[in-house]
Amino acid sequence: MNRRKFVQLSGMGAALFSSGMVQGRIISAEDLMMPGIDVTAKKRLADVALNAAKSKGATYADVRIGRYLRQYFFTKEMRVENIVNSESYGLGIRVIANGTWGFCATNDLSVDSIAKCAATAVAIAKANSEMQEEPVILAPQKGVGIQTWKTPITKNAFTIPVKEKIDLLMKVNGEAIKNGATFVNSNLFFINEQKYFASTDGSYIDQDVHRMWPTFTVTAVDKKAGKFKTRDALSAPIGMGYEYLDGLASEKMSILGKPTVYRFSYDMVEDAILAAHQAQEKLTAKTVVAGKYDMILDPSNLGLTIHESVGHPLELDRVLGYEANLAGTSFATMEKWESKTFEYGSKIVNFVADKTQPNSMAAVGYDDEGVPCKNWNLIKDGILVNYQATRDQVHLLGEKESQGCSFADSWDSIQFQRMPNVSLQPGKEKYGVADMIKDTEKGIYILGRGSSSIDQQRYNFQFSGQLFYEVKNGEIVGMLDNAAYQSNSQEFWNSCAKICDKDDYRLFGTLFDGKGQPGQSSAVSHGCSTSRFNGVNVINTGRKI
């Protein structure tokens, strides 16, 4: 299945997709449960690669042996459009020779092939060193020896029978239609990365990473009026097993009797029923009057704004110009960080980068350079204090060890700097969403991820959502339509006036975040509590053709 077909089937348009969604060979569902090669065999193959690289003149080498399993479901109304089970397996070798990176990958894991691949990686490094202006400086990383890490899951999604998953989606679609949806697409995405890393530093790390995302789009059509409206699922892609779909009542939150939102357990059927009703409600919702509003943003909406206006601008490779030709650079330049006074947000704004956060999608034990994962401050009391960096960048920040932000989406992709989980810390005083609405005179309360766009230096952005509720004098008075909020990243975060406490803290995530040339995909979560931003510009996006 090609990418275009995938996007059509998923019915999710162009939001946050990369080319790395469907890779590898198609296999049966049963094969997804077969174990990969034994860890001792991986160590033997890794040593072949490392020794071959060293013998050809590499001063550093690392090798990744990856087995990537994916199972995706695509349904539409009461039929299954496709089920994709795929496996991708192979080995990638990265070296430094003549102070320059070189890389080669192969799916032929014979000793001869691995040795040849290592030699090629060294040859590429030497060839490219002619155009190298500065040699690679690698932060020291003590070898961690033999290590293992596994996403803490209770139900491996691949062991759940295909029929059970289809039955769930058919129930989701059936209930949506029964409750007034004209159309419905639903999807399940399950990913398992079995990654083995070894380096000349003396690390041999075996990791088993699980992620999943249940989602749908419900459409209500009014043919007479020539109108249609959609509502997407309020689930989050998450670093959990199939247990996320248990739909535990304890993990649901009803906001003033309006939408229900979910924490670490998702009720897909219930959300589809709500979505069907809300898509119909949107058909007759009042069109927004453009102007300044206090925006109350649920984590299901604010998460994407965090991703674009904080996560990406603080990637050090962007700041330095390595992404200039595609994704762009960043307004958060080095001198702003060096000043130690750059007010990225108001004083209540604290952002933490954390690759150890439970249930998050970027959580692993070690990054793809063998660096143990950790957490650190990015924005402290509103001030920019740090970036996200890899081993070859961190010396620029005056730090002696990497922050562990290296990732490659496949064994045949070159690892580079990718975003860790970047999360807004909750407010310290007891304060809930009901309190926030009560304290708002003229506002809009937004839930769900909608259209998003931000400039190449991450100043000007425009975001939409799934559900818009008008707030007047402390009460929700009705649903709005055609709304999008526009701001500048720094102005927006400085307008952050209130953040709900930890009881409201939830995760947003993106399973297919694209970056790089050629494009690679990564998964990342963003946590936050519902937050209010005062005096934000809202535009009306309604037009006629």
Binding site: K5, A127, N128, M131, T182, L326, N460
Partner: protein
Amino acid sequence: MEILTKEEAKKIIDKVLGYSKADEASVELTGKRTGNIRFARNSVSTSAETYNLSLSITSVFGKKQGTSTVNEFDDASLEKAVRRSEEVAKLAPENVEYLPMPGPQKYLESKGFLDTTAKIDPAQRAKFAKDSIIPVRENKLTGAGYLEDSAGFEALGNSKGLFAYNKSTSVDFSITVRTADGLGSGYGSGDFNDSALMDTKVATKVAMQKAISSRGAKAFEPGKYTVILEPTAAGELISFMIRAMDARTADEGRSFLSKKGGGTRIGEKLLDERVTIYSDPTDKDIPAKPFSSEGLPLEKVVWFDKGVVKNMSYSRYWAQSKGIAPILAPDGFIMEGGTGSLEDLIKDTEKGILVTRFWYTRWLDPQTLLYTGLTRDGTFYIENGQIKHPVKNFRFNESPVIMLNNLEAMGKSVRTRGNMVPPLKIRDFTFSSLSDAV
């Protein structure tokens, strides 16, 4: 990897079909070599070359289908792949919209394979990069660029006797040049089937000139402006419209082509009468694969004729349900343009904004095809036929449908990102806010 010939590919496909015990079976055989080189901060950052030869077999029992893929080509591996696809098919849920596979077809000839491109090696890739990096360095600017080339083939066959074969090559290059003070940024690009046409120096020169002249941008108020969209910018918006021309969604009432009260807008004049857009896999400038993934022939299709919606795309299933022949979505489109150049359009403009390219363009409303995005890497103010000064980047909120009703003039169509698009002069283009990004 050698590109398999038509005969070699057919031999493998016939062998695989010979192993099949299914009601119907189809085989797709693809082979591709891709190479790339990426640079930033005036140094090569990464470079790679990959090879892949892969075979995919789909088996069907009744309306149940299963697919498996293999990249080993000994008899045992091929037969195992066939058996696996049959096992998957038997376990699969029934696809109620499944249609029997098509039989033998006739295809147009597409000339998208060029030896020059197929023979690109790491040394030539490095030269392409060097030709770009050296002038940037010499001008004390900073360049980030990416070149990707590919050569490959695709062959299809099925148990009904269908066989299709096509080979193609491509080379794409883009560069963004920034000034040392970070106040200027410019973009240049090129994409071809034939690498002999690729001159990275030319694209780099454009990017350097734009970077230097975009320093010191002045802020303009957001609002409605006359714009000149360079082909890269215009093509991006128009491609969204072409991708949204599916008949089924229009019939179902959820498309910009749905009519109030039911039905579609086919036959309606939706755009300016100078707008004619078609696709043709045999076009000499953008040759494309002449068959679909199912092996149906792709032919010339006129999508808009003098502003009138002439055709929409119909999948086999939807076409059958409507009692018509399928019309397949194209790989690339050709928008007929005028005869003048971009410079001629600028010369004929009293006041306007020149846009090099857009960035982060996303839909806002699928019903009106309203999109938002930003200008980037060279936005300039035109007065009395001349570029006066750079302006700060804008965010736009605009629909290609509205835009192509506000058409003032068109230049000559050029190839950009696999399409043929003219530079367009558009009145009342909506810029909704300013961006500080350079």
